[in-house]
Amino acid sequence: MDQAPTTLDPVQGANIYANFVIVNAYDTLYSYQYLARPYLLKPNLAVDFPVVSPDGLTYTIRLKKGVRFIDDPCFAGGRGREVVAEDFIYSIKRQFDPENQPQGAWLWQGRITGLDEWKAAGSDYAQPVSGLRAVDDHTLEIRLTRPYPQLTATLAQGYSALVPREAVEKYGKGLGVRPVGSGPFRLVSYDTARVVMERNPNYRQEPVDLAAEGYNPATQKFSGVQALQGRSPPFVDRLEFNFINESSASWSSFTKGDEVQLTVLPIEQIDRVLASKRPVTLRPEYAARYHVYGGLEAGFVFTAFNMDYPEFGYNPDPERERRNKALRCAMIKGYDWEARNNSWYFGLGEYFPGIIVPASPEFDPALSRASVTRDVAGARKLLKDNGWTPDNLPTVVYGTTAGTTERLFFEQFRAWLRDIGFPQDKVVQKTYANFGDISRAWKRSQLPLVAKGWGLDYPDAENTLQLFYGPNASPGSNDANWKNPEYDRLYEESSVMQPSPERTALYHRMNQIVLDDCVAITGISRTRIYLWHKDVIAVPDREILGGFWLKYVDLAPDSPTSPATGKGG
């Protein structure tokens, strides 16, 4: 992987790298079917899906019995105690205790009865939360303030992982480097270069049922996963994550054979390694040694205009506001998605109009592709008709983190804008030391253009539609600070609806409003190409499924790397 997690405490497990480790060290109530695409939820620590009351406000969840935390000195006698419903309640409370610098609270904020009040009253763990109740050790009842159809999906996130109170009390912040959970693996060592985990010997016995995991023989037989049928994970004794920033180094490490067994193909290797892109196939010398699989990102990359900037967005002068919209639409027309796809995503990314990504079940393949088709002449004409000249065009400040790729993104963008009439010195880059610093600029509404990526937290378009919901304006996730009453009304209407064709229709209408108002240059879902050694049995994924699949990784019996050790780059 290309980046190391900063902490392994679920309370701060924001990035996918941390999540990879967290869901293997801890248990969540729900997870995703290993092989189903699109992604489907399944019970994990929960016995079954929640029983939801008719008004959609009360969820009752039963937990599996006899599941134990790993043995650890924090427990009486050093032996792991049984996981109970109270552990879940405690773990969710932790997300509402400012002391922990929690990152997952937004998933439940304003949703669970009494939780926000509990925090306002000083986050005292001795006090109960009315919406979180342990009926008995193995039955949990969650009460909501309003219907929240995505709740079950949030319980498949690392943030909701069950943490034992004893461990928090014993290790405090040290929990970030010493997870104590009930997941399939336990941590052996952790530093910024590598995480090593070994099999949790007491992990519950749950034989794999391929049909229930969404196995599709037509597309997945090559991987050998059928050998897992009827056996209980985890299958490998040891997992090793290597965090390698330089893709070239990671690639050489993979090709040498004994260092890393699974990797994401670095973009620069594509021409050497792939024989064809659609479908993804390997050249013979690689095909003999590796399996390959191209997976579409469950998320997208886009560039939003910050409507707070009078140069591009809202303006007290209605005439200027009208011209600003023409300017935004022209910049969208000038954007070359095809070139971006070819330079950076193997030409394998899927660029699409609007903000409902292909990995969402509500994606609309029939939507007009005009907004992602380059039209330089049209863009120039639009600018001319609306009185824009090289002299009066505003300066475009393109903020990025410091880095080569980001700089080249900028140079490419600048060249495209020059094509539609921007002078070179009116497109400038502003760099930030790290992601935190650029986030600050976004959250403080200090950049006219917000170029960022968003990964789906759950397979529901609501997760990307909320990016443009008015009340989510900075410092919330609506970095565009776009406020459209019609859109907001539709969002509120759809947010309490269970999945249905009616809801999808509302989603599509909202998508169209975003397109019509030219608020964002959007978007592309990237394709990641996974390669792994032939002796590894796996179907890798780092999207919604995240680290959940690692417990299903196995090595073929004649593997040279036995004793079974899985190493991922």
């Binding site: 620069e268 790729t405 600048r414 060249a415 030391a433």
Partner: protein, 296 residues
């Protein structure tokens, strides 16, 4: 307090005009030095042309497709987004001179003035304070310091240069201080003192001009250090903010070389190697020429 100066020869120096004339004569006879100077001048012409827009104006244009090989159109091929690598490498020559010259001039100037004051008022609080500054800057590892300055000035396009100047003046400052301590005891300085010339005037008119030989060599060494540091800072994401440089190209190449695409790496590192090597040779030749111990 911890400045360690190398043992200097006790030989008396012939100062003033004659030293420079003698040095020029010696330098002119140094074939390697002259050749190196020629190379540096050639680079300078290339940089000048890039500044004036005679060539490499298209360094930011997308003139080709991804990773084109060497051809008659793209002499060094193209990069990942289809820009001409030759144009970018040539344009970077101008950047190298911008960085090298600005850092070398500023650092040498600051080092000279501060070093001269410290040396002239040796033992006073001025000297103590400057020595303390030098000690502090010495004690902070270079990359840490530069990274910190670059982050603190994150919006400033000159952040990298400021950071380099803030560290590179130290070497010059220390040398000049040592030299001035020696010079202030010379007869002509004491004579100036006795006829009531102000101390500042003595420093600027009578002492600093006599350290010119050190300054020239120090400036050329600083120039080279600045160009080399730029590469590493660019790799660490702390480099040039706007424009193109060899460091940025090499940073670009770190993702490409193991894929077998060497154009960025070779173009930037060879061009840079040529300039740095030539400048090192010039600095050496200067040092030889300005060293009065060597008979010319």
């Amino acid at each position: 307090m911890n400045a360690v100066t190398l043992p200097m020869p006790a030989a008396t120096r012939v100062r003033g005009e004659s030293l420079w004339r003698q040095a020029a004569r010696k330098f002119g006879r140094d074939r390697l030095g002259m050749l190196a100077l020629g190379v540096v001048l050639a680079y300078f012409v290339v940089a000048l042309g890039a500044w004036l827009g005679w060539w490499a104006g298209g360094w930011a244009d997308l003139t080709g497709t991804k990773w084109e090989p060497v051809s008659s159109v793209h002499w060094f091929g193209t990069n990942i987004i289809g820009q001409d690598i030759f144009d970018r490498a040539v344009f970077s020559t101008a950047t190298a001179f911008e960085v090298g010259l600005s850092v070398a001039l500023a650092a040498t100037l600051i080092g000279a003035v501060l070093g001269a004051f410290a040396g002239f008022f040796v033992g006073s609080w001025i000297d103590e304070f400057l020595l303390w500054c030098i000690g502090v800057l010495d004690a902070i590892p270079f990359y840490l310091f530069v990274a910190a300055v670059a982050y603190a000035l994150t919006d400033n396009p000159w952040a990298m240069q400021v950071a380099m100047i803030a560290t590179f003046w130290v070497g010059t400052g220390r040398l000049i201080r040592g030299e001035v301590i020696k010079l202030r005891g010379m007869e002509y300085v004491e004579a100036a003192h006795s006829i009531g010339v102000s101390e500042v005037a003595i420093i600027f008119r009578h002492i600093l001009p006599n350290t010119g030989h050190i300054l020239l060599v120090q400036a050329s060494i600083t120039f080279v250090s600045a160009i080399k540091a730029e590469v590493i800072l660019s790799f660490l994401g702390l480099g040039i903010k706007d424009g193109m440089s060899w460091g940025l190209m090499i940073d670009e190449s770190t993702k490409e070389v193991l894929a077998g695409f060497y154009n960025n790496f070779l173009a930037a590192s060879l061009l840079m190697f040529g300039l740095v090597m030539a400048f090192n040779a010039v600095a050496d030749a200067l040092q030889d020429a300005l060293d009065p111990r060597k008979v010319g």
